[in-house]
């Protein structure tokens, strides 16, 4: 088991979002987190990354609590939140280079090819503020391909992408999973991730609304 959540609970402003949440994922598995708006999907992902604290329970990486193996664990995470961390003043290439410096970089990556894969060829040197929302999302997603991290934690990765973009990104996920990685994602979109184990948790079902 690479990553496991045990008895997670999360409260926001005295409201219980979920409790007794358990899951475990091995290599080559995808976890799709579902739930209505405000059901705690983003909170769950932030807890998994260690950006936020759970009210109780914990996350375990290779059967060790993540607090104890923090540096190792962070080296294995690639997180893409609502705000993709793309600097509007920098070009896609500069953004990618900086992302590479922050993570465990994958060996021998051709940044031009990575941007080409996300249909950003020709925009390498255009400041990101001149690009569309979908293209900015692609710059954020390109970061996944330059790091060596096993665990991808993605909050609504398909937002603002066109149909071709969604298909491209799904291919990238499948490739990562087949290479032994894990993807945890939230989406309202029906994914076409055949050929690998997709686990689903529905947070709406955890705690009935007041």
């Amino acid at each position: 088991m690479l990553i496991a959540a045990r008895d997670l609970a999360c409260e926001r402003d005295d409201r219980l979002l979920f409790s007794d949440l358990n899951f475990q994922l091995a290599a080559r598995e995808i976890l799709q987190v579902e739930g209505r708006n405000g059901s705690g999907k983003t909170s769950l992902l932030r807890i998994v990354c260690g950006l936020a604290l759970a009210s109780s329970g914990g996350i375990y990486w290779r059967d060790q609590p993540v607090e104890r193996v923090r540096t190792d664990y962070l080296g294995q995470i690639n997180y893409l939140g609502h705000h993709a961390g793309v600097k509007a003043e920098l070009t896609p290439l500069e953004n990618l280079r900086f992302a590479q410096a922050l993570t465990n970089p994958r060996r021998d990556v051709d940044l031009g090819a990575v941007l080409g894969r996300l249909s950003l060829r020709g925009f390498e040197d255009v400041p990101c503020r001149m690009l569309s929302a979908g293209q900015n999302r692609r710059v954020g997603l390109a970061r996944l391909l330059v790091s060596d991290a096993l665990l991808w934690v993605l909050d609504e990765p398909f937002t603002a992408l066109d149909r071709k973009g969604i298909a491209d990104v799904e291919d990238i996920f499948l490739e990562h999973v087949q290479a032994g990685g894990i993807v945890i994602l939230t989406t309202h979109h029906t994914t076409r991730l055949d050929g690998c184990t997709v686990k689903v948790i529905d947070l709406s079902a955890e705690v009935p609304g007041p």
Partner: protein
């Protein structure tokens, strides 16, 4: 293979270069603290009168207070945009120590907002009839003092970056910590004007600088983790 080793030095340089690049693409904002500094200082002779003896007497205090305010004015921008577009989260999620990243960001911030003050300060000294023998001490005290202001300010900025309007709270948090720097900085220049020995003041400011380089990045990193949590 420096590029590929992904070591701490590489991260430090990457963050530093990135922040400097970002600053130079916002050239308009770049000049703000400097303009403020120059304007405040040059208004004093107009308000008080051009008598050289009066101006020379209050020059150290005016220049130091203006430098302090200019540096505080620029603080809020240190982490603001990175917080808003999610870059700060990415930095916090890096397996490299956040404190090293923070130190690089503070250094970049000081190079942009603090260093120009040092360069203009002698000019403003001349404007206020500061004696020549105090010029070197003025620049030295600012060189030791303004980095402390940036480093201490970073802690407050890290704590308040999550708030929509953290400006007033930020000043309340960092002003008391700025006071020792102001006292020793202005005192050093004053004593230099009177021809006294100022090594003691400068040593103390050096000690403050070393202390804040060692401790402030750790505190700032912790503050940022609280803010984005």
């Amino acid at each position: 293979m420096r590029e590929a080793d992904g070591g701490l030095g590489h991260v430090f340089i990457s963050v530093l270069m990135r922040d400097l690049t970002l600053a130079f693409r916002h050239r308009g904002e770049l000049a703000n603290p400097l303009m403020f500094f120059v304007m405040v200082v040059s208004l004093f002779p107009l308000g008080i009168g051009p008598a050289p003896s009066t101006l020379a007497e209050i020059a150290p205090g005016i220049i130091w207070v203006a430098a302090l305010l200019a540096s505080m004015l620029a603080l809020d921008a240190m982490f603001r945009t990175d917080f808003e577009d999610g870059s700060l989260e990415q930095m916090a999620l890096s397996h490299h120590p956040l404190s090293v990243i923070v130190l690089a960001k503070v250094l970049a911030h000081w190079l942009i907002t603090g260093l120009p003050l040092l360069i203009v300060a002698p000019l403003l000294g001349v404007l206020l009839y500061l004696p020549d023998n105090a010029m070197v001490v003025l620049v030295l005290s600012l060189a030791l003092g303004t980095p402390v202001l940036s480093l201490v300010g970073a802690i407050g900025t890290g704590l308040t970056v999550g708030l929509k309007r953290g400006g007033v709270l930020l000043s309340l948090l960092v002003l008391p910590l700025y006071v020792p720097v102001l006292i020793f900085g202005a005192l050093a220049v004053n004593d230099a004007t009177a021809g006294l020995n100022v090594t003691g003041h400068l040593y103390l400011m050096g000690a403050l600088l070393v202390l804040s380089i060692a401790l402030s990045p750790l505190a700032t990193a912790a503050a940022i983790r609280v803010s984005i949590g």
